[in-house]
Amino acid sequence: MVYLDAASAEPLHPAGRQAMLAALDDGWADPARLHNEGRKARLLLDQARDAVAALLGCRADELSFTGSGTQAAHLAVLGTVMARQSATRGPGRIVVSAVEHSSVLNAAAWVQRAGAAVTVTGVDATGRADLGELAAATARDRTVLACLQAANHEVGTLQPAQDAAQLCQRAGVPLLVDAAAVAGRLPVPAGWSLLAASAHKWGGPAGVGVLAVRKGTRWRQPLPAADSQAGRSPGFPNVPAIVGAAAALQAFQAERAGDDKLRALCDQIRTGVLATVPDAVVHGDPAAALPHIVTFSCLYVDGEALVTELDKAGFSVSSGSSCASPTQRPSHILEAMGVLTHGNVRVSLPRGTQQKEVDGFLGVLADAVTRLRDNLGAHGNDPRPEDPYVEVTA
């Protein structure tokens, strides 16, 4: 099998695995206790926090580990609304881009049910956030939080998060930057007030998220109070997993040199898809994109069937389509971009992806698409404007 779904989970980095295994022996005790075992766990936790804070560009006392990136995003949104709500005028307004991770959108929907106003700002056809809409929304009265990801996790488009941060600073509105897609891969955009990330996107173990709240940003614990970790993430921390996450981030970030190779392979996929699959479209902005993600859609194909077909052929990818499922909607990201949602495939390359693996993927893709189109009796080759007189034959 060739694993090409790093955007869902990057395989555990060997450095992270090794550190985590060692910490299972040394860091199992309660880090809040003053005895020898507790102090050992505390030391490991503090070292991990120092390391991750330094790598992400914040102070250790600004950073908390959470149970996941999703939980970090939830805490960021709810805690900000909680701190800034007014007893007389209610919770105010929050602004989110239409292509945020579902954790941010779900948190927004949650505070909306509690009476907050939510403004959703649009994106262009590449998925890039419209800063004009963001500026207009943050200028409105009682806007208490704006949310913009550093890069889109589904199509790879980099967001103007640094410009957004300046704009928010001028408007006096705190900005949550969801950095899950960039942490460990690209520098985290400067100027955020709150930052969320997730360790399994950088080769750390699942179950470790990061929430950073910049000093001076108003934030209040939205959950029953806890005394650990500056009160941000209640409960006994998973010290071994946190240690593994820190070691993985250090190693992963140090290997950024490999990014050029991944970027070249992604470019090869972009070109190869368009050259070999009739009626395919590649999404996003290749000039301002994450190095490891390519997303495309093939007309007249059920995206989930395509994922299954590619799995049978030995390639693991994901899809933002929802053709087979009666309850699900297609990817809200593709919808917001206004691009084809069916026949969608996201390919995301883990570290160390080989040329021959990408060649192999491109080698099976066109056949898989043709097979599925044949099953549906659909033609991937109907005439284009250039050849208007070619007739379709069934």
Partner: protein
């Protein structure tokens, strides 16, 4: 929470003011990508410049019908919400 609507169709004509479609394709109850396949197969049954109406209620159709028109250089004239699903008017451009 509602996400922002799909960008409006390129031409100004709304369903009410458009001439009657030359062909109506009923794709209600059909999952993606079947509505698109039906449109692609049958758009050549109308003359260039005439309208095809597609009725569909799969949520993906709302994005995918206009996206198909853009990819295929056909003209997405209007998208009208129905009690169930949408009516898409497409003008055969070539």
């Amino acid at each position: 929470m509602t996400l922002p609507p799909i960008p409006p169709p390129t031409s100004a004509g709304a369903a009410a003011s458009s001439p009657a479609p030359a062909l109506t394709i009923d794709a209600l109850g059909k999952k993606c990508p079947i509505p698109i396949i039906m449109l692609a197969e049958r758009i050549r049954e109308v003359s260039v410049g005439e309208l095809v109406e597609v009725l569909a209620d799969d949520p993906a159709a709302k994005t995918d019908l206009p996206a198909w028109c853009m990819i295929k250089s056909q003209e997405s004239v209007s998208v009208t919400e129905l009690p169930v699903g949408w009516s898409f008017l497409v003008r055969r451009a070539y």
